[in-house]
Amino acid sequence: MQEKSYGSKRLVVGAHYGLRDWLAQRVTAVLMALFTIVLIAQLLLGARLGYERWSAIFSAQWMKVLTFVVIVSLLYHAWIGMRDVWMDYVKPVGVKLVLQVFTLAWLVGCAGWAVQVLWRL
């Protein structure tokens, strides 16, 4: 009988460990794919593209909400993907930690900038 299941004795393998991220990566992917289709449809249906029409697309409240959802989805999706890449190719724990922190800062920074652009409109 195992008397301790945390700390150094914690079970680090088994079912469910990656399931949540696996699912999250797929759900966020579907959201981004839907956004892509919605955006392309709006670009194809309509007059010649210029600033007026381009900014009008993102000015609509529903499009703002959808774009915001996509920004957050992208943040999460790219985090899972980049973390997987670092986990697979970088062995030293310290280097891996630095790269993961960089990835998070990079993604959160980008997401903040994108939201700022969106809400200025």
Partner: protein, 142 residues
């Protein structure tokens, strides 16, 4: 109880060495897989550029001019044709990542994981992303 501590010689499989990459023959599904990663990392690294484009294209009519001139006059010391190449790389990355992702979702939903289906869907992924990239690249440059 059987003695489980006694170890026997077992084959060890390790990752291929970096120098073996060129000579290692990867099946189409493997090529799709590694390109899925490469395209993902590329888009991750170019994300600030994409958001900068998003920013200048939306903020005002004047900044919109800067957006369009990015691909004609260029940005800073980077010429317009180079910016078009960067855009083309992003277009390919997006298309490949998108189609390879749909292939993943299809395999998850349909459980179509036979060798033949995987081979065929990998080849169609590579072909369709390449064709669309060539088509959009033509529109971008000419």
């Amino acid at each position: 109880m059987a003695d489980t501590t006694q170890t026997q010689e077992r084959p060890v499989y390790r990752n291929i060495h970096i120098l073996q990459i060129v000579s290692y023959r990867l099946p189409p599904a493997g090529i799709v897989s590694i390109l899925h990663r490469v395209s993902g990392v590329l888009m991750f690294l170019l994300l600030p550029f994409v958001i900068w484009l998003f920013d200048v294209s939306l903020t005002s009519e004047i900044s919109y001019e800067r957006f369009t001139s990015t691909f004609i006059a260029g940005v800073g010391w980077l010429p317009g044709w180079f910016m078009k190449l960067v855009a083309l790389a992003l277009i390919w990355a997006y298309l490949h990542h998108f189609i390879a992702g749909v292939r993943h979702l299809w395999m998850d939903v349909a459980h179509s994981v036979s060798k033949e289906e995987g081979h065929l869907s990998a080849l169609s992924t590579l072909a369709s992303s390449a064709m669309l990239t060539i088509g959009l690249g033509y529109k971008l440059f000419f």
